[in-house]
Symmetry: C2
């Protein structure tokens, strides 16, 4: 790359002022007379001068950059939902003139990854960082918050942790589960199975909790045989369902899946076992994945406003960066029922 950009000394010389004044103009200080300001601006524009960011940072300015850290075991680029979340953050930030520095935590050992992430904060590359896919109360994140860095997290239980540099953005799992169970019950289902999610991620246990509450609200028994352990992946949903089908003594009339990816896997396992959805069993998802309307049968599911969720988080982070630490902030994105073709009344 070239190395011959013009600097503030040169601008100062050309405008016949000091570097101090150039800096005051650049940073929009009030105590510069219009005439001086215009004189300097003309030179700046003529030479298309742009201050060196590193020098500005060294002198104490912000980076106008947000870090985005993805925790993922598999190939992230294959995961449409995560791709969308990433792009959504970038889009929100770009709209506000912020850059996003993205890093995928997948290459190294946990310890080394943690070091790399911490470095990004320590090197002052970023004004704050957003984490997607992290475990609930992940030690690295708690450490960063403890050290005063500004951190945004998705899908975390924040009970009792209300530091001003912690921003949490969740979705309403309890209401979502309630909507789903209510809907199934309204279709006369009472025998309802639940495929659980990753127990380490907050929405895993919370959705389970929501399911239990909703079932209790309808005075419906929960059959232990119908609580299926799982993770959040399509492959996991397939394996869990296949194994479960081999052992279960009586089938439920409906399955509520912790998310849509798992439901896709479950659907495949059910199809392979010759069980028709929704004729023989109803299947309900959670997320409203982009594929859910496209598969056959189109998946009835709980829509999550991920768009709003990431927007809120990114916005709040930028606010905190620009206005200094605010109060602790927590957002809860809405969930709603989307009826398609995978459930039927019995």
């Amino acid at each position: 790359m070239k190395n011959t950009e013009i600097n503030s000394t040169e601008i100062a010389r050309l405008a016949g002022v000091s570097r101090s004044t150039v800096s005051r103009v650049i940073n929009n200080y009030p105590n510069v007379p219009t005439k001086t300001r215009e004189k300097v601006m003309q030179v700046i524009e003529k030479y298309q001068y742009v201050p060196n960011l590193s020098a500005q940072i060294m002198a104490g300015k912000r980076t106008r950059t947000i870090g985005l850290f993805l925790k993922s075991t598999g190939l992230v680029s294959n995961d449409m939902l995560t791709n969308m979340l990433i792009t959504r953050v970038i889009e929100s930030a770009s709209l506000r003139g912020y850059y996003v520095l993205t890093h995928i935590m997948r290459t190294k050992t946990d310890e080394e990854e943690a070091r790399i992430v911490k470095e990004t904060f320590q090197q002052r590359r970023i004004d704050g960082g957003i984490f997607i896919g992290a475990a609930n109360h992940e030690p690295l994140i708690e450490e960063l918050i403890g050290e005063g860095y500004l951190v945004g997290i998705v899908d975390q239980n924040s009970l009792g942790r209300t530091e001003s540099n912690r921003i949490v953005s969740n979705f309403d799992n309890i209401t979502g589960m309630r909507l789903g169970v209510d809907y199934l019950v309204s279709m006369n289902h009472r025998k309802i199975a639940f495929i659980k999610g990753d127990p380490l991620r907050w929405s895993g246990p919370e959705k389970y909790e929501g399911f239990m509450q909703a079932m209790a609200a309808h005075y419906l028994p929960v059959n232990g045989e119908w609580i299926i352990p799982g993770d959040f992946s399509e492959e996991g949903g397939y394996r869990a369902t296949k194994e479960w089908l081999g052992t279960v003594s009586e089938l439920p009339t409906a399955i509520f899946s912790v998310n849509d990816s798992v439901a896709f896997g479950a659907l495949r396992a059910l199809n392979e076992a010759g069980i028709q959805v929704p004729e023989q069993i109803s299947l309900l998802g959670f997320d409203d994945h982009v594929l859910s309307s496209r598969i056959n049968p189109a998946l009835t599911t709980i829509h999550v406003d991920f768009y709003e969720m990431m927007e809120n988080l990114t916005d709040a982070m930028i606010q905190s960066i620009e206005k200094g630490p605010q109060q602790f902030q927590k957002f809860i994105a809405k969930t709603s029922l989307v009826v398609r073709d995978s459930c039927r009344a019995i």
Copy 2:
């Protein structure tokens, strides 16, 4: 954010050496005796010292950061294919210890956007930049290359432009179009329509060229009525097809669509007009979009190895950054036919 990180002066003091020596250790200079190196490393590790990146950049180091610039009119987060390309770059870069600074060019006027992008280079935030979705020979990009910045571009005709700081990654449109036409011809189609793409993007005209060549190779006439103008979007494909259906005097037996998104739109328009695919007309796409295997009928298409395409580009860029300007580099990702259910023999 906190402001109390340890610096090299402090490390030097604690290790009983000068800052010069600390720097030599950090940068792995050979002329440091093992004993001194170890002594310094111990202090560095004990205090988890990480050099300030901005200071390093000011002193002439690289940023280990790649810029990623997206040109898009609509909401990028809704475009699954673009999301995948973005994440793919981030993933490749993360694997090599590089960060990716992403910016979406959508918010402002063209002029202002160009300024913001140029700033990113000028501020030395990045060691090089990758552009996705840019027009062929976009002036901003040519300007950046002219000024010596390292630029990677997707889908560009590089004829006669072989600067060492230009890296191009395309896919093989000519072969892809040839494969598609060959396939249709092998199914006895001779009346073949083509929906064209965005004329400003290189793959638009190149695919058209490939189509004409392939038709000529089979001595097939090209009916002007069956060349349909379009862009690269689903909505565009829908509108173009709908309009075309209203005016065309004789239907072809097959439609080759410039990409899969356009084919999805075309399929919708055909369905609405009561024309069955593939019974009444065959439909062939290009890209192998994630949705193509999921729609009904599953779309027969030309698979493009986007994964390889972005990987090559990102890799070559990192090579150029680390080893200095190489020769001009150009990559061409493979294309191959994927047979599904949207074409039939006649």
